[in-house]
Symmetry: C2
Subunit: 258 residues, 2 copies
Amino acid sequence: MTFTANASRAILVLLHWIVYLHDTYLSVKWLVISWILGTAYSLNEDSELVRADASKLRKKPRHLSVILQYTNTSGVEALIEDTVNVVCWSIAAGLNRLTVYERTGILKEDCDLLQKILNNRLQSYMSAEFCTEVKLYVPHTGRSIGPESGFLVSLISEEDGKETIVDLTKSFCEMSAKDQLNDQDITVEMVDSHLQKLVVPEPDLLIVTGKDSYLYGYPPWQLRVCEIYFTNKSSPLDYVSFLKGCINYSGANITLGR
Amino acid sequence: MTFTANASRAILVLLHWIVYLHDTYLSVKWLVISWILGTAYSLNEDSELVRADASKLRKKPRHLSVILQYTNTSGVEALIEDTVNVVCWSIAAGLNRLTVYERTGILKEDCDLLQKILNNRLQSYMSAEFCTEVKLYVPHTGRSIGPESGFLVSLISEEDGKETIVDLTKSFCEMSAKDQLNDQDITVEMVDSHLQKLVVPEPDLLIVTGKDSYLYGYPPWQLRVCEIYFTNKSSPLDYVSFLKGCINYSGANITLGR
């Protein structure tokens, strides 16, 4: 090996190390800052602050969706707490609707309790003039609780994903066998419109909690041009991650098909 | 408003600014480092270096997929150059197969030319002992070029996504109408297995080029537990992004359903 090759390899190894050390330094620094900011925000239960942050965004997601994680150790209480927080922030930020995905479906099991906790928290969190109620909706069962005019929160789980697409396929087959449907009428737009009604329309922004960057079985059909933000932190979803997701969306240049 | 409230607000505003300035500083610093590293790597056309990097990974994706961007300004030549690069890196890193997604499908139009350029480049890039040929495969037409034993590169586009799911639904309906298929036999596993044959199996890692964090119409069914890495840079895909995607995957703790 020539001297030049050795020298260039040495430079590359050196650059490698600079990047690795720099990365570690960044991670630690960001963790400390997030922790300070997270603590400061959780101490300050003030919806005005969220409103002020949101007003600085160039554009806001109308329809936000979050993937929350259920673990045996933290239990369903932690999941409810996460949901209540993100509902409060979304209303304060002026978003139009929220869809909460939790893989196992445990969050949908006691909607009455969730609704009660939500409305209680909203009363103490929001100032009287902005206070609103929540309409909880579970697409899989079609059940909804709360006033029609309330802020719409849809609760979905893994069964709303591939299983729902397969169920739709089955009903198309049945209808086709009974001559109620012509095969040629089945199009991407038609499936789109059915799945929007059966589950939810495609969100504008999807915030994914959890250490890994994957979609945990989220309804796949609904993710064509949706901006995705991975927090890469295990639950709970903190306000800083919520805000960073919105800031990313606000800077994203979505042009495809919209 | 009390003094305490004012003070806490002032602290929050200060923290905000620290985070924003810090973020900007990081972005600039990372851009400079990426540029230096990118230049150094592109000067060094050495597959040994890629092999050495890959050998340090705790685990490697067997099946890598990348989303590449076609723009009128850079043209199809830039797209081919991107593809050739990522094929070389994947082979050198010892991955098993590669799936290249480009939304419009322009990459699949001249497979013979692509195959020729690929094999030429591989001969000069790889050392003789590791040199291999490439088998190009276009799932939508079923066409393949190159030896059966070659490194498998599948070329897909938006038509392999929702459209293929709808086509599959149509054929199920036809079969069901002719009593060749019982509706009850249609399951998630069955659709999974058909789509794996019609398009590609789910990749282990998906690297997405482009400034925005969304999926550009990528086949949605294939993304249940696939690790996703957004480069958040417009094309071309550089080696640093390829490596960072692999490092992220190597650290990801995929447990769900595997």
